[in-house]
């Protein structure tokens, strides 16, 4: 915990589901975390976790093949120093039991994104996606 009282604040933004949106996702996160006065080290980690989750939507939920106008939404909320980041998409339904990272000692390319998310965040939870959404991922961290 940081010991700093962060603002209660919430923002969300929609992005096209493709890899070139990832820099826009990072930019959005950095802007919001600036407003929340989150210190640089933690900000870097949170941006990485969020970008990895967005990348998973592009790569796994849509298999790198989303329609050109397909959107995903990222919502960042902070209330009582608890940060909640929600992702909404209309990709293939995610089976949470199948979401796992590779063994970290088995060094090979790939399989690290989920590991980074789990290392950085306190909790990772898949919730039911209300229409029109299919997947609703929620990451939380106590600041």
């Amino acid at each position: 915990m940081s010991g700093i009282a962060h603002l209660n604040h919430s923002e969300k933004k929609a992005f096209l589901v493709n890899s070139s949106s990832l820099k826009d996702v990072r930019s959005f996160c950095r802007d919001v975390f600036e407003k929340l006065q989150i210190e640089q080290n933690l900000k870097d980690e949170l941006v990485l976790a969020i970008a990895e989750a967005a990348q998973n939507i592009v790569k796994h939920a849509f298999k790198n093949n989303a329609a050109a106008n397909e959107l995903m939404v990222v919502q960042i909320s902070c209330e009582n120093n608890k940060l909640q980041i929600a992702f909404y998409d209309r990709g293939t339904p995610v089976d949470p039991k199948k979401v796992k990272h590779r063994e970290i000692d088995n060094v090979k390319p790939g399989g690290l994104g989920t590991f980074f998310i789990q290392e950085i965040m306190d909790a990772v939870e898949f919730k039911d996606g209300n229409k029109p959404w299919i997947n609703h991922l929620v990451l939380t961290k106590q600041l």
Binding site: L22, N41, D44, P109, F116
Partner: protein
């Protein structure tokens, strides 16, 4: 991502610049792999890379493994603090050749 390449003897130094994510990994591979495949020692200078995600880390792992297959090596030099943190989170600081 942009890059600059300098060659001296059997060493190719590739300076990468910018953010390395899923969107640019194929470009990064196209820049790096041919030099490894030619059997040269490759130095990757990451001093100007301020952000790298798991896709970028995968390129470093693949480069390292490809170099071992070719009996050469990839040396990762001048890593920025933010990228070093990601490399350490992936527990690769003892695997990759960092200088």
């Amino acid at each position: 991502m942009s890059y600059k390449i300098a060659e001296e003897g059997n060493i190719t130094t590739i300076h990468l610049d910018g953010e390395i994510d899923m969107d640019v990994v194929e470009k990064a591979k196209e820049v790096i792999f041919p030099h490894i495949d030619s059997g040269k020692e490759v130095h990757l200078n990451l001093s100007q890379v301020q952000y790298m995600d798991s896709s970028g880390i995968s390129v470093l792992i693949e480069s390292h493994q490809k170099a071992l297959e070719k009996n050469t090596k990839v040396v990762i030099k001048d890593v920025s603090k933010s990228v070093l943190k990601v490399i350490m989170m992936a527990k690769l600081e003892q695997i990759l050749n960092l200088e």
